[in-house]
Each structure stands twice: as C-alpha cells, then as structure tokens.
Symmetry: C2
Subunit: 205 residues, 2 copies
DNA sequence: CCAGATTTTGTACAATTTGACACAAACGCA
DNA sequence: TGCGTTTGTGTCAAATTGTACAAAATCTGG
C-alpha cells in the first residue's frame, strides 16, 4: 500500500494551485515557493507544502518548486494530463456560453456534443456543434464512452437528465441547475448555481 | 453577546438547505424533517439539526420543521429576505446567460447594470439592459450603492476589474474568471470556473 | 379520551479531521 | 565555509462531524 487516502478537501485545492501555477508559467516564471504561491491563492504556505507533500517530495529546500515540474505532477495527480471528452446538456444561453468557452483548452477537457430536448433547438448549430436530441443521448454517450457531463437544464428537468446520464455511464456531473441531484455513490457531482453562490456571501455583508 | 460566531462552513450549507426547502414548498409540502431534508441534499440529519440549531429552536419534536417558517428564517439569516442589486461585468456569452437568468428572482437578487470595456459592445441591448462602458463603472456603481458584482471577464482583466469594484464599494464578487483575486479582507469572493470544477472530479474517475 | 408506542428535535460528549506552528535538514550563493 | 532561504514533517490545537439519548410532540388502537 503505497498510496494513502487523500482527503477530498486537499484534492479540491489542487486545481486552484494548478491554475495559479499555469498563470505563473504563462508569465514566464520558472520557480516559485510555497510562500509566493500561497499569496497568490490566499492559502497559508504551510498548508500548501503539506498538501503537495502528500504526493511526493516535489520541492527543493532553499529553492522552492519548479513550476513546470509541479504543473506536470498536479496534472498527473488530477488526471488532467490527458483530454477528457465532455457532453453538454441544455442549449440555452448558458449552454452556448459553455460551448464557446475557450478555457477548457489546455485544462484537460473538450466538449464533444450538445443535447437538448427542445425540438426547435435540435439541429441548430452552436459553433461547430449541432444540437442533438436528448432522445438519442443515452446511446450516443454510451457509444462515445463519455464520462463527464455538464448540465444547464431547468431545475425541473435536472434529476431526470442526471438519471439518464448515470445510466449512460457518466461518472462526473457539473450541475448548473439549482437543485441537488440524487446519484449513486460512485458518481461525483459539483454544483455551481449563481444564486446559491451569491447567497453564500450576503450573510457577510 | 447573544450571537456566537458561526463557522463559514455552516453558512455555506444554508443556501443549499434553502434551495431544497423552496423546492419542497413549490411542490406543496408543508413540513419536513432533518431526515428528509438530509436525503434531499446529501447531508446527515444530525448535521442539519446542528446547523439549524445554531440560530434558534426552529423545529418541533415529533413533527419536524415548518417549511415556510424555516425558509423565512434562513432568508433572514442569509439576508436574502430583501432584493440585492447586482452588477455584471463582461458582456460575452456568459454575461448574456447571467443577464437573462431567471433564477435570481425569488432568491434575493436583481441584475441592475452590465458593463464591458469593448467599445463595440457598449450600447448594445441585452434583454432590457444596455451595455455600459467600464470607464463609467466606478461612478455608476458608487452612485447606485451596489455591493455585489459578478465578473465574466477574461482572466487577464479580472484583477484590474476587481480592484475597480472594490474601489467602488463592492463587497462581494462572484468571479467566473479562472484566476484567484487579491482583495481586502472585508471583501468576499466566490469562485466558479468550469475547468476548476471539472478538475475537482477527474481525480475520482 | 387515554396510555403506550413512535417520531423527531436539540444537545452533550466522543471521535475524527483539518489546520497552525515550529524546526531540523537540505540547498544555493557569496 | 557560513548565511539566508525553503522544504517536509512531527506535534499540538482547533474545528468539524458522528453518536447517543432525554425530552417533547404526535399518533394509534381500543
């Protein structure tokens, strides 16, 4: 047993580190320290060192971390050292925004299909994609072997869509609808609905 | 001292409870239990009881919680028993999606203005809004007294925009750009970038 | 209408998880 | 070589979650 169980909370911070490191690399930096990285992401240096050290000794005393090396390691750990196919359900405004989003490039993701149940939208072009019918979704996802989905459907349809996605073999759902989804334990869901996020802040105003 | 310091992590769960409760209310339910609510949101019943009891004794043994009463209380606690004005910076696809989003209604928020620095977009209509120039943003926000902003600008512009928002008196920022923002301690930021959210899940695939 | 069974809350206490602190060891540099 | 920097980690403190149960309310069956 070489690998101990890594807490979710640490995994959740890694993408933040990765994002900051990639930004540093874009700016031409070669090395950084836990101190500097911490200032960028608003997390204590000690915490960052401990998080990273869960996976190996990637730094060097006196010098810090090689940015490129750490990026490579984090991408490997998070399994984004490859490109994941992602399907998008819901061709509304938000669906359009995600379809055209260029931030997936170089971050390990690629949208491969868009579905909607509105017959008026089916067949429409969004960028290079043609909106497909949700009736054919299950088969299409299965045959493509896609494991990741993003849902931008109305709250009322979200659970039904999620059920279908799970049935099709999807294992990770990024849910933009304002509802909690009921899924099996081996399926991960991330929620990201604007109202909920705003409500997390108003308490402090 | 009647009110003890409530941990952030509890505050973060309240909007989730609220969302589920509002959904139950829409479906005509009158009461619920910590058990039932927990099943809906995927959190243990004990945890929910403990969270809620931080603010008072809102339930009744043997019966559970009155849904409407709990909604009212949570809205009050989260300060969404009113309507907050929100400004939107960035009139791209995502900006359009948020401007047209109807999930803010009944959740305590209302978009009141949209800004962009692209002179081609300034003056454009988005729904009932006219895109305004970021040059006039600082004054406009100040005069309207807006405290909440959503940013859908490119990563490269996000920090600069955030600085201006802080200067204009904004105290809460929902940031869709894939960068960590550096803001004073009294300003809250919530991050919500698709790639980062997806990367939080790939580890488990 | 009532007594016992059932439900469900709120909380005391225990266990676990998470974060802060401190420092020896390693490295670079002058 | 000696000094300043920075990592990785052991130890401790704090925060968070889980468990269990008394008390309160409702329900049920006669």
């Amino acid at each position: 047993m070489n690998v101990k169980k890594i807490p979710d909370i640490i995994i959740g911070r890694l993408p933040v580190y990765l994002r900051a490191l990639q930004r540093m690399a874009d700016n031409g930096a070669k090395t950084t320290s836990s101190q500097e990285l911490g200032e960028h992401v608003g997390i204590s240096a000690a915490q960052i060192r401990k998080d990273i050290s869960q996976f190996g000794e990637f730094g060097k005393q006196g010098t810090g971390y090689s940015i490129q090396f750490l990026i490579d390691k984090l991408r490997e750990i998070l399994k984004v050292d490859r490109v994941w196919d992602v399907v998008l359900i819901g061709a509304g405004d938000l669906g359009h925004a995600l379809a055209n989003y260029n931030g997936f490039q170089n971050r390990g993701f690629r949208v491969v299909a868009i579905f909607d149940n509105d017959k008026n939208k089916v067949g429409q072009k969004i960028g290079e994609f043609t909106v497909e019918d949700t009736d054919t979704m299950l088969e299409r996802i299965k045959s493509m072997g896609v494991k990741i989905a993003m849902t931008t459907v109305p709250a009322s349809a979200a659970q039904e869509v999620a059920d279908k996605l799970v049935q099709a073999g999807v294992r990770a759902i990024l849910n933009y609808a304002p509802v909690s989804l009921n899924v099996p334990e081996n399926v991960k869901v991330q929620y990201t609905d604007p109202s909920t996020n705003l409500q997390r802040m108003t308490y402090y105003l």
